[in-house]
C-alpha cells in the first residue's frame, strides 16, 4: 500500500498560541481518512496547513510529505503549483466559493482550459460529462445564485477535482444538506477515494460511518482516539466519542420526548389552505394545506433553499402568500404566535445587556418577574448570563435564552427555523430536547424546521417534506 501523504507532528500556531496540537497521520492510496469532531477549533486549520493556505498570523510547523518532498520546506509558488493537480480541496461554503457571475459549466470547464490546455469547446465537453456524472446537466447554464445548496456542493466537487488531483481534502462537505443530498455527496467522495485518497473533516457521525476507512476523533485541537471507523463507531473508547455518537439523530431515542397522552381534541391553533409561494421565478410549493393542533410537534423537512423558512414566515403572517389563506384561532393575542431563529443572535437587539431586553418584555406584558428564574433553571441557564449582551453569549446558550423569552409569553405556537443548525451536535441535541420538552409541558404547538429528517422523525409527532 503506497502512502500518498504523510504528516508528521504538524501543528498550527498563532502569536505563540498553539491552535492545533501536533498531529501525525498517513494517507494511503485508495484510503478514506476521516477526522470527526465539533465544528470549529483546529480541524479546518489542518486542511489549510496541508494546502499552504493559512492566513498570515497563523504558521504551521512539522512535516508534510507528499511522496518524498516535504511541502513545508517548499516555496509558496511551488506549493501553489500542486493545487488542483496534486492536492484538491473541497471548500466549506460551496455557495460562496463559486464565482457569482459565472455560469456553472464554465466554472468547471475553465479548469480544463487553464490546467490541461484544452480548447474551449473540448473543455466544455469534458465539463459537461463531469456535470452529467453528478446529475447537474440541467443546471449547466445557471449562475451559482440559482443553485440549491446540494447542487452548489456537487458543482464545487466537479470544479475542485477537475484538474485531476489524486488527494482530495474535504472540509465539512455535507454542512446544511439534508440526508439524501448528504448521502449523495458521501458517495461521490468515496468514489473519488478509490482513484486517489480522501481526507475528510466532519462533525456528522453518519458521514464518518458511510465513508468508512480510518477515523480520528478530535476535540479542541487534541486527538482523542483513532482506528478503524466501523470499530470505533461500534465501540467508542472515549466519553466524547460516545457523546458525539449519541448526539447523532440516528441514535436519538424515538420519540425523543414522550408525548403527553390524552390531549383532548379541540380547535386547531392554526390552519392553512392552498398555500402557494414563488421565489425568484421558482415555484416553492403549491396547494399546501396544514392544520396544527394544540400542543402538536410538527416537523418540516427539506433541502436548503426549498422554502422551509418562507413557509414559516407565511404561517406567521410575516410574508404574504401568492395564494391561499392562513387562519389563527380567534380571540388569541398576536404575541402568542412566536418564532425562533436559525441564527441565535437574530432574536436579540445588539449592544444591549440581555437583562434589559428581558425586562422590556416583562414590563410590556406586565408579567411577574418571578416567572423568569425557574424558567431559566428549567432551560439550564445561569442567571448571570443576562448581564452580557447577546454577542458575548455562546450560540447554544443564546438559543435557549431565546426559547426562555418566548416561553415567558405562554405561546400557542412556536415556529423554530432550524434552531440548532448553527450549534455543535452535542449542544444541538440538548437544545432540541429542551425545546420539545418545554413545548410539551406547556401544551404549546411547535413547528420544527430542519434539513435532517432523522432528527425530525424522532423529535416530532409527524413531519412533512418540502421540495
Amino acid at each position: 500500500m503506497t502512502i500518498l501523504l504523510r504528516i508528521e507532528a504538524l501543528s498550527v500556531q498563532a502569536d505563540g498560541k498553539t491552535l492545533l496540537e501536533p498531529l501525525s497521520l498517513n494517507l494511503a492510496a485508495g484510503e478514506c481518512l476521516t477526522i470527526l469532531g465539533e465544528t470549529g477549533a483546529g480541524k479546518s486549520l489542518l486542511m489549510h496547513a496541508i494546502m499552504g493556505t493559512l492566513p498570515p498570523p497563523l504558521t504551521a510547523s512539522g512535516r508534510i510529505l507528499l511522496g518524498d518532498t516535504d511541502l513545508a520546506s517548499l516555496e509558496r509558488s511551488a506549493r501553489e503549483r500542486l493545487w488542483g493537480q496534486q492536492l484538491a480541496m473541497l471548500p466549506q461554503e460551496p455557495w460562496h466559493s463559486l464565482d457569482p457571475l459565472m455560469p456553472a459549466l464554465q466554472q468547471v470547464a475553465e479548469v480544463h482550459e487553464c490546467v490541461h490546455g484544452q480548447a474551449p469547446e473540448q473543455a466544455q465537453q469534458t465539463a459537461t460529462q463531469a456535470l452529467t456524472g453528478v446529475g447537474l446537466e440541467a443546471a449547466a447554464a445557471r449562475l451559482p445564485g440559482q443553485l440549491s445548496g446540494g447542487m452548489a456542493q456537487r458543482l464545487a466537487f466537479c470544479a475542485a477535482t477537475a484538474a485531476g488531483a489524486p488527494i482530495l481534502l474535504a472540509d465539512e462537505p455535507t454542512k446544511g444538506l439534508d440526508a439524501s443530498r448528504r448521502d449523495q455527496v458521501a458517495t461521490l467522495l468515496r468514489q473519488h477515494a478509490q482513484q486517489g485518497a480522501l481526507l475528510t473533516i466532519t462533525h456528522d457521525v453518519e458521514v464518518a460511518r458511510q465513508l468508512g476507512g480510518t477515523l480520528l476523533v478530535m476535540r479542541a485541537g487534541h486527538l482523542l482516539e483513532s482506528g478503524d471507523a466501523q470499530a470505533i463507531l461500534a465501540a467508542p473508547q472515549h466519553d466524547y466519542t460516545r457523546a458525539l455518537i449519541a448526539a447523532d439523530p440516528r441514535h436519538w431515542p424515538a420519540p425523543l420526548v414522550a408525548a403527553v397522552t390524552g390531549a383532548p381534541a379541540s380547535e386547531p391553533v392554526l390552519e392553512a389552505r392552498g398555500l402557494r409561494l414563488k421565489r425568484g421565478g421558482r415555484q416553492l410549493f403549491e396547494g399546501l394545506d396544514l392544520r396544527i393542533e394544540p400542543g402538536e410537534i410538527l416537523g418540516i423537512a427539506g433541502d436548503s433553499g426549498c422554502g422551509k423558512s418562507s413557509l414559516g414566515d407565511l404561517l406567521l403572517g410575516l410574508l404574504p402568500a401568492d395564494a391561499g389563506v392562513v387562519t389563527r384561532r380567534p380571540g388569541v393575542a398576536a404575541h402568542r404566535y412566536l418564532k425562533l431563529y436559525q441564527d441565535p443572535p437574530a432574536a436579540f437587539a445588539a449592544g444591549v445587556p440581555l437583562r434589559r431586553l428581558f425586562d422590556d418584555v416583562l414590563r410590556l406584558h406586565r408579567l411577574d418577574p418571578a416567572k423568569l428564574p425557574p424558567l431559566l433553571e428549567r432551560l439550564r441557564l445561569r442567571p448571570e448570563l443576562l448581564a452580557r449582551p447577546a454577542t458575548e453569549v455562546s450560540g447554544g446558550e443564546l438559543q435557549r435564552l431565546a426559547i426562555a423569552r418566548a416561553l415567558l409569553l405562554d405561546p400557542l405556537l412556536l415556529f423554530a427555523d432550524e434552531p440548532v443548525s448553527r450549534l455543535d451536535p452535542i449542544t444541538a441535541r440538548e437544545v432540541t430536547e429542551l425545546l420539545v420538552q418545554s413545548a410539551r409541558e406547556r401544551g404549546c404547538a411547535l413547528l420544527l424546521v430542519s434539513h435532517d429528517a432523522e432528527a425530525l422523525a424522532r423529535a416530532c409527532d409527524r413531519h412533512i417534506r418540502l421540495g
Binding site: 493545487w83 457571475l101 479548469v111 449562475l143 484538474a163 488531483a165
Partner: protein, 312 residues
C-alpha cells in the same frame, strides 16, 4: 434593460421640468418688466422702446395669468425653443451646441485619464494591501480629496503654466490647452476612485471564490483575468455612477478656472450676468449630460452582471 432606459428618460424629464421652472421663477424675479427684457433680448438694448415692448407683450400674451405663461414656457422648452441670449443676442441652442462639444471633450479626456491612473494604482495597492504603496496612495488621495478641485487646478496652473511656462494658461486653441484642465479634473476623480478600486479589488482577492479558483489549479494571472476583473469592476462602475455628479460639478469649476469654452463656464457666466435663457440652456445641457452619462453607467453594469440580465 428597457426599464433602465425608461427610468433615465423619466430623469431627463425631471431635469427639463426643474430647470425650466427655476428659470421661469428667475425670469419673473428679475427687476424690470418681462416684455422689456425679451425685447432687449431680440432687438438689442439700444433698440428697445415702449412700442417694441408693447409688440412683444401682445405677441407673447404676457397679459395672461402667470400659470398660462408658465405652461407656454414649458411648452417652448419641450420644442427646444430656448430663446436668445440676453447678452449676445444669439439663439441659446446654437451657443450651447458649440459649448457642449468642448465640455464633452474635457469630461471624456478627464475620465479617461482618471481611469488610467485609478485602475493600476488601485489594483497595485490591493495586491500589496497594507504595504508602503497602499499607504502612500492613501495619503496622496487623502491630501487631494481635502482640496476643492479648483485649488488643485490653481496649483497645476502655477507650476506648469506660470512658473515653468510649459503649458498654456487658459482658453482653447489646440490640444495643448486640454492638458491642464483635463489633468486637474482627472486627479480629483482618481483620488476617490483609486481607493474604490483598491477596496473592491481587495475584497475580491480575499473572497472565497477567488481563493477557490486558485485552489482549483488556476494561476494568479488566470484567476485575476477570469474571476478578478469582472467581480471587482462591478462596484467600481456602480461607484462611477455616483461620482458622475462630482464630474459635472468639477466641469463647472475647472472650465471657469481655465476659461475653457464649455457649458460649465457658460453657466457660471450666465448666472453672473443674469442671462436667464442662457442659464436655462446651460443648466439643462449639464443636467441632460448627467442623465446620459448615468445611462451609460447603467448599461455597463447591465453588461457586466449576468444576474441583472437573467432577473428581467
Amino acid at each position: 434593460m428597457l426599464q433602465l432606459i425608461l427610468r433615465r428618460l423619466l430623469q431627463a424629464a425631471f431635469v427639463t421640468w426643474s430647470v425650466g421652472t427655476l428659470s421661469f421663477v428667475l425670469m419673473r424675479l428679475l427687476p424690470g418688466d418681462m416684455e422689456f427684457r425679451i425685447a432687449a433680448g431680440r432687438y438689442g438694448y439700444d433698440h428697445v422702446d415702449l412700442a417694441a415692448a408693447e409688440a412683444v407683450r401682445a405677441e407673447l400674451g404676457l397679459d395672461r395669468p402667470g400659470w398660462q405663461i408658465y405652461l407656454q414656457w414649458l411648452g417652448d422648452l419641450l420644442r427646444f425653443n430656448l430663446g436668445d441670449s440676453l447678452v449676445s443676442g444669439l439663439p441659446v441652442s446654437h451657443e450651447i451646441a458649440h459649448l457642449l462639444g468642448h465640455t464633452l471633450l474635457l469630461a471624456g479626456a478627464a475620465m479617461l485619464i482618471a481611469l488610467l491612473i485609478a485602475a493600476p494604482v488601485g489594483v497595485w495597492a490591493a495586491l500589496r494591501a497594507g504595504g508602503w504603496f497602499d499607504r502612500l496612495s492613501l495619503l496622496v488621495s487623502a491630501l487631494l480629496r481635502a482640496q476643492p478641485v479648483f485649488v488643485i487646478g490653481l496649483g497645476l496652473l502655477l507650476v506648469f503654466a506660470l512658473e515653468w511656462r510649459m503649458l498654456p494658461v487658459a482658453g482653447f486653441d489646440g490640444p495643448r490647452y486640454l492638458i491642464l484642465p483635463a489633468l486637474t479634473l482627472a486627479l480629483a476623480m482618481a483620488a476617490v476612485s483609486s481607493r474604490v478600486v483598491r477596496h473592491s479589488a481587495a475584497e475580491v482577492l480575499r473572497s472565497a471564490y477567488f481563493n477557490f479558483a486558485r485552489v482549483k489549479g488556476l494561476s494568479l494571472r488566470q484567476a485575476l483575468q477570469r474571476h478578478g476583473a469582472r467581480n471587482a469592476a462591478l462596484p467600481v462602475v456602480v461607484f462611477l455612477g455616483i461620482q458622475l455628479a462630482s464630474v459635472i460639478e468639477g466641469v463647472v469649476m475647472i472650465e471657469s478656472l481655465f476659461s475653457w469654452p464649455g457649458v460649465g463656464h457658460g453657466l457660471a457666466h450666465a448666472v453672473f450676468n443674469r442671462d436667464v435663457p442662457m442659464i436655462q440652456g446651460a443648466a439643462m445641457a449639464l443636467g441632460l449630460l448627467f442623465v446620459a452619462l448615468n445611462l451609460l453607467v447603467d448599461l455597463a453594469c447591465h453588461l457586466i452582471d449576468p444576474r441583472q440580465r437573467s432577473a428581467h
